[in-house]
Symmetry: C2
Amino acid sequence: MAVDLLGGDHAPAVVVDGALRACQADPALHLLLVGPAEAADEIIYALDPAEHGRILRLPVAPADGVKADSWVESGVRSAVLAVAQGQADAVLSAGNTGATVTSAALGLGRRPGVRRPPLAAVLPTGAGRLVLLDVGSSVDPDEETMATHALLGAAYAAVVHGVAAPRVGLLTIGTERGKGDRLRRALPPLLAGLALPAGARYVGLVEGNDVVSGAVADVVVTDGFTGNVLLKGLEAAYAELGPPDPAAGPPPPRAALLLGVDGTVVVCHGAASGADVAAGIAFAAHLHRRAAVAAMADLIEAQRGVSR
Amino acid sequence: MAVDLLGGDHAPAVVVDGALRACQADPALHLLLVGPAEAADEIIYALDPAEHGRILRLPVAPADGVKADSWVESGVRSAVLAVAQGQADAVLSAGNTGATVTSAALGLGRRPGVRRPPLAAVLPTGAGRLVLLDVGSSVDPDEETMATHALLGAAYAAVVHGVAAPRVGLLTIGTERGKGDRLRRALPPLLAGLALPAGARYVGLVEGNDVVSGAVADVVVTDGFTGNVLLKGLEAAYAELGPPDPAAGPPPPRAALLLGVDGTVVVCHGAASGADVAAGIAFAAHLHRRAAVAAMADLIEAQRGVSR
């Protein structure tokens, strides 16, 4: 697992903390620590010497004349390249979303038809779990990008949550005809005509409250601006008040998977805690072991074949 | 109080229920029931005959050849005109937001500088109460409209919540420079340069979680699409899990005030319950008795005078 030590508002401290927690929780986990050597060494020193073989360092040092932002972004770029070159199986970053998405799109390649890879988050609901996408990659998306979110989100719910025939809804502000902004008014015919993978079906317009109940959709499609705002609002509410269905077990990790790229890239919020980073690393490891990214790609390819 | 009996997904039944509850809870309340005579009669029959003097009817009947939508919209138009003509002090509608905003803008008039009147909702937070606007009036707003939201929201927090020097934030998806969509990237310099009323100040970018905590802003400005999605999501979470600070007393009504028009217009969600409608009516009566709309207009005019 390649971990971007420089990404996040409180990097490298919380990333060091999170990586250490993840290592201790999962004895099979190996980490490639990408960033300043001294931050990586903190993790190594905290581990039993018998465990040192589980840690590799990929030092990224500030070069002369390079701005701080570029230096930080070179961290996630190096982490993505480590996956592209087979040195790591997946990437975890809490850094700038735009830099991570761009690095992943260039370094790992986008799946056919994917213009802007979306970030898919999972929220607990009264009915289980719900996939919300995009949560920050595609601001000002066009219609084709939103339609691709629907395809990718359906595959995610089928593969990662094991949902048979996922219900896909479009997030808007009222279910009467003509409600919503320009983008939302244009989208329903396009979404209704899509051939979705995994037996998924488009169930029409949904609203903010449907993301809490989970009663009408398993996948909710929106632009990255609205999705990010709603995600951060609901996550904060659940952190304060508990999840909508406490009987449903531990809440999902506060981390999002980048969809539509050829590799496992998990993103935490910039304000993520050490526990969030640890959960994000564990989630990335889980997805890799399940070969989830390849399974999603296969589902979408299979649907493409049928539709042709 | 003019009540639009035809507005809402479950009209007139829930509006009848809500109007009756409001009447029973507040003996000083008089209602002008706008809509089908038989719905109004249900309320009258349910009241003690000694109370019948508190109810007036303004029948709105379907005309031949008029579509159902137009008939429903004529209800809110008639209710707004009753206020414009002095037959009522305020309006409550759970109907189509667009029709209500347009009726109010035309029937009551917009305040100077207000292009699109925003709807301001109040959310409970960990720190008290927070004004979120717009929550459904201005989809695809321009920069000037968003700046007007900031002025109106500041006046609202000062007058209705008694906040001295309200803190006004712009809702976005990350506080680094360059985050957000086109609109959000363009707005900060404009908002920072505004002369806000009531000693309010622009505090910069805020995120979804800040709407839950209430720690950094008293007023959060956004477009009507994002605001509506976040409002419905958080309201549903709080309805399920309780408000962020149970010690803060009863949660605010799930109703929004239309700002920037010359009159008191309160809007409930289309999916409002009878209890929500009753709370909306009580809220409108409270605002009218406090002369809140005039006080907000005065604050903004006073600031205009200073800024000239």
